[in-house]
C-alpha cells in the first residue's frame, strides 16, 4: 500500500525555482512552456495500519509547510 504526496508552493508565494526552470526550458528552445512550478513528490510505503487522519497530520506537520505550501495526498492500494 502506498501514499503519494504532492507538495507545491502556494500560488501567491514566489517560486524562484519554477522561474529558473521555465527560463531554462525557453533557452532550450521550447517556447510552449508558459510557466513552471517546482514542488516535491513523496512516496510513502505503508503497512496499512495508518489512519487517514494520521496521513493528513504527517502531510501537514512534516511533509509540507502550511505557511507556504499546499499538499495533496493520494492513497493507492
Amino acid at each position: 500500500m502506498k501514499a503519494k504526496v504532492i507538495v507545491m508552493p502556494k500560488r501567491s508565494v514566489l517560486d524562484p525555482q519554477g522561474v529558473a526552470v521555465r527560463d531554462a526550458i525557453h533557452h532550450h528552445g521550447v517556447s510552449a512552456v508558459k510557466a513552471a512550478r517546482v514542488g516535491k513528490f513523496i512516496e510513502l510505503e505503508l503497512d496499512g495500519t495508518q489512519t487517514e487522519a494520521q496521513l493528513h497530520e504527517i502531510c501537514r506537520d512534516l511533509l509540507s509547510n502550511p505557511v507556504m505550501e499546499d499538499y495533496e495526498v493520494l492513497l493507492e492500494k
Binding site: 524562484p16 525555482q17 529558473a20 526552470v21 531554462a24 533557452h27 532550450h28 517546482v38
Partner: protein, 233 residues
C-alpha cells in the same frame, strides 16, 4: 598560455580562482557564460558557486549556457578543463565527466578544512605531487556526494581516474573521514583522457598562507608545469 575563468550567473568563486591564477602569473580572463567560444584559451576553469541558484539540480541549467557548447568542443580537442565544486557538478551534468554529485548524506551544507589523499600523480593535474600525499584543502558544499554506477566505478579505478579521496589526518580513507557520503570517498576525478578534472574541494582557497594552508597550490603548479609555463621543481 591563457586561462579562462567562466562566469555563470550565480558563480561566486570566480574572483577567488582569478586571484589564485594571477598569483601564479597566469594571463587569465573572465569569460561570460553568454560568450560562444573559449577556443582562445589553453586552460578553462569552471569556478564554484551556485550557477542558476542551483535550482533544479546543481549544474543542470548551467550546462546549457551558450559557452558550454564550446567548452565541450575544446575538451574533445584535448584542452585542459578544471571544474571546482559547482564547476565539477556542471562538468558531470555536461557529461564531460561520468557520474553525478548528489545531496550530502547528512543533508547539511558542510564547510571546513579536510584532508584528501593524492591517488595518482601521473597526470597533468598532480604531476608535482606524489601518490599518497595529503592535501589540506577546504570543502564548502551541500551536494558533493559522488555517485556513479558500478561499471563506471570499475572503469574509474582501473584507469586510475580517481585523483583525490577524502581521508583522515593520517591518510586513512575511512568512513568517518567522508564528509558527504561519496562513493569510495571520491573527492576528485578525471575523464579517460585526463584533460578534464573535477573536484569538490576548493584548491583556490588554499594558496595563500594567511588562510591556513597552501596545499591547493600543487594543483595549479602541476597544470602550469604541464602547460610548460612553469618549470618542474
Amino acid at each position: 598560455m591563457k586561462a579562462a575563468v567562466i562566469r555563470f550567473p550565480g558563480s561566486n568563486c570566480d574572483q577567488d580562482c582569478m586571484l589564485a591564477l594571477r598569483e601564479f602569473g597566469v594571463d587569465a580572463e573572465y569569460v561570460w557564460h553568454k560568450e560562444t567560444s573559449v577556443a582562445a584559451y589553453d586552460l578553462i576553469v569552471l569556478p564554484g558557486g551556485f550557477s542558476y541558484g542551483d535550482y533544479l539540480r546543481c549544474g543542470a541549467i548551467a550546462r546549457f549556457s551558450p559557452v558550454m557548447r564550446s567548452v565541450v568542443e575544446e575538451a574533445a580537442k584535448g584542452k585542459f578543463v578544471l571544474g571546482i565544486c559547482n564547476g565539477f557538478q556542471i562538468l558531470c551534468e555536461a557529461h564531460l565527466l561520468p557520474g553525478a554529485l548528489v545531496r550530502n548524506r547528512s543533508l547539511h551544507f558542510r564547510c571546513e578544512h579536510l584532508f584528501t589523499r593524492v591517488e595518482n600523480f601521473t597526470n597533468p593535474w598532480l604531476n608535482t605531487a606524489v601518490t599518497g600525499q595529503l592535501l589540506n584543502i577546504p570543502i564548502a558544499h551541500g551536494e558533493g556526494s559522488y555517485l556513479a554506477d558500478p561499471e563506471t566505478l570499475i572503469q574509474l579505478n582501473r584507469n586510475r581516474q580517481i585523483l583525490l579521496r577524502y581521508c583522515d589526518s593520517h591518510g586513512a580513507v575511512t568512513h568517518a573521514a567522508n564528509p558527504n557520503g561519496s562513493l569510495e570517498n571520491i573527492a576528485g576525478i578525471c575523464n579517460a583522457r585526463f584533460n578534464v578534472f573535477g573536484l569538490m574541494p576548493h584548491p583556490e582557497r588554499a594558496c595563500d598562507p594567511r588562510l591556513g594552508s597552501v596545499d591547493g597550490r600543487v594543483i595549479f603548479e602541476s597544470i602550469l608545469t604541464r602547460l610548460g609555463v612553469r618549470k618542474a621543481a
